[in-house]
Structures are given as C-alpha cells and as structure tokens.
C-alpha cells in the first residue's frame, strides 16, 4: 500500500512501523479525502449515487463536508455556467491547502454538449481552477468516478515535499 519499511525482528515490540514523513503524510492525505458537498447537474446525481451505500465512497475515506474550510477535495460534477464559475473559484479559494480538484463529466472537462452553442457555459472548469483528475463520461458511471478517485490517490501517494504535486507522467519519467 505505501512504502513503510517494516524492519522485521529488529524490535521486540511488534507494533512499531518505520517510515518516512513524506510517505506518512501522503498516506494520511489520500486516505481521508473529505470532499465538499457540492453538485451542479446530472453528474451530481451520479456523484451522490457513488456516495450512497451501493458504491460507498466512504470506504476510500471520502465523505462530504458542508464547508469549503473543512474540505480537501472538490468534485466539479456538472455544467459550469459562467455565473457559477465565479462562485466555484471563490469556493476553491476558501479551501485550505493541500486541496485537490476532480473534474467530473464532459461539461466540466471541456464544455460537453454546450461547446459551441452554449452561450452561458464555461468551456472547461480548468479555465478558472487547476484540475488534478478529469473523469470522462456524460455523465460518468459511479465506477468511473471511483477510478478517478483512485487516480487521484495515486497522484497524492507520489507527492514530495520538495516538488509538491507531480503528474503521473513526470513521476514515471
């Protein structure tokens, strides 16, 4: 799961685990990603289904928080209108660091079906806030959102204090 160097038989007490601070912090962060209770459109219905008992987001430590001050993660689940984009930016700024963004569904990835004639739609939420993981779909099934979350966890697992967030490509290079 994570790089804790378990030194077998070095200690008589078997409940000691040795690791480094970076991995411990990363493990703690990725295991309790509290998401902001925030939904926009039909994707939000799928997000709620992912949170509910059948798909059970909580088994990955994800649970909704009603305030941006207590949230680590915001899932942009739906169509971002120009009017809402300003509010999303403000909510994101109110979240404490470290903070992560999952863009869920075609609308929030790139404008989706509104890409040409949607006079009111922002063509991708990454025009106002930085996105960590894009989940494709219209709307994505809960399985897809779960995979997006696992990708985000993988990303957090590889963070370093010196370099901060690294993309998966950068890490493997």
């Amino acid at each position: 799961m994570f790089n804790m160097g378990l030194l077998d038989k070095q200690f008589t007490d078997d409940n000691i685990v040795i690791t480094n601070v970076e991995d411990l912090f990363n493990w703690a962060r990725l295991s309790s990603l509290w998401q902001m209770s925030f939904g926009l459109a039909c994707c939000a219905i799928e997000m709620m289904a992912t949170s509910a008992s059948h798909y059970d987001f909580d088994r990955f430590g994800v649970m909704p928080r009603p305030s941006p001050r207590q949230a680590d993660l915001i899932i942009i689940s739906g169509t971002v209108t120009l009017k809402m984009a300003l509010r999303i930016k403000r909510l994101y700024e109110q979240m404490p660091d470290p903070k992560y963004v999952i863009s869920m569904g075609s609308c929030s990835n790139c404008g989706g079906p509104y890409w040409e004639h949607g006079y009111h739609v922002l063509k991708g939420v990454d025009r106002v806030i930085p996105v960590d993981v894009y989940v494709p779909g219209c709307p994505p099934r809960p399985e897809a959102l779960l995979e997006g979350l696992l990708k985000l966890q993988e990303k957090i697992r590889n963070e370093t204090m010196v370099n901060g967030k690294l993309s998966l490509q950068e890490k493997s290079a």
Partner: protein, 176 residues
C-alpha cells in the same frame, strides 16, 4: 366552455381595434393577435369576465421572428434590422376547462409590451426570462432584471438571432 372563435368574437366586440386578428390557418392551435399596448387590459378582461375566467397563465414565451433584413455590420458579422419580436401567452381556465393562445408582436428596435404581472403573478419570472434572453421590455413590471444570465452581462440578449457571444466575461474566455 368556449371555442377560440367565440372568444375572438367576444374580444372583438369589447376591444375593437386592440384585437387585431385571429389566425387559424396554421398547423397549430388558433391564436389571437393583440395590440402590445393593450394586452394587459385584454388579459384582465379574460381573467375576470364570468364567461371566460382565464385564471391560469400556463406559459409566456418570447420569440425572435427573424423576419427583418440581414445586413453586414462594421465587424463583418450579420445584424438583423427591422422585423419583430413576439410574445405568446398560453392561458387556461381551470373552472371552465378552456384554453386560448394570444400573440403580440413588437418592433425589434423598440420592443415594449405591457406587462401582465398584475393579471397573473406567474408572469413575473416568465417576463424576466423573455427580457433576459430576447430583450423584450415589459412595461410596468415591478422588477425587470435578468433572471438566468449574470446581472452584469453586457453582451446583449442570447436568443436573438443576430446575437454574438463575447470573447471574455470577467476575465474568463467564453468561446471554445
């Protein structure tokens, strides 16, 4: 219960010139065309007359008729000059079980229609929507603000046929 023809005769006898004509040769339900500056008086009568009792405004919608002249503007885009914008009213009497469609047309350059806010309160947000998306001004509406687009939207009314989306809104790029 009255047919659209009977209602048209009643309105014609009562309001004369304000009731312009009745269209029934189109493949849609018949509708009655009313003068835009008298629509509120006609609607009050339709609501309160004991034979009519139209107590419900089912829908109010604005339309760009796109019947003006298309001309090139300075920036090379198309602009429509002249022609009309229209407002359609679908009303129903829940007591007498009859329905009616009204239409009123206003010139594109000066689209002013009398508000029916005080006849049916349902008209409040419908009229704000028609104002927001088509720029039809409803006279006597107590709170004619934009309802869907941002309050500080300056690029015009999006459902007009010659609408052009702006490059930027509040620093955000709008086109794809």
């Amino acid at each position: 219960m009255k047919s659209a023809e009977e209602i048209f005769e009643i309105l014609k006898a009562k309001f004369g010139q304000s009731v312009i004509e009745m269209k029934k040769d189109l493949p849609v339900e018949p509708f009655i065309i009313i003068n835009p500056s008298d629509i509120d008086k006609v609607c009050f009568f339709l609501r309160d007359n004991e034979e009519l009792l139209f107590d419900s405004l089912m829908n109010l919608s604005g339309v760009d008729d796109a019947n003006g002249q298309s001309v090139n503007d300075e920036e090379g885009g198309l602009k429509i000059v002249g022609g009309t914008l229209s407002v359609y009213y679908h009303i129903e009497s829940t007591k007498l079980q009859h329905k009616l469609c009204l239409k009123t047309s206003v010139p594109r350059e000066n689209p002013v229609v009398n508000s029916v806010y005080f006849v049916w309160r349902h008209a409040d947000w419908h009229e704000r929507e028609a104002y927001d998306l088509l720029g039809i001004k409803f006279q006597n509406h107590p709170d004619l603000r934009r309802i869907l687009m941002p309050y500080d939207w300056e690029a015009g009314h999006p459902l007009r046929k010659d609408y052009k989306n702006p490059e930027f809104y509040q620093g955000m790029k709008v086109p794809y």
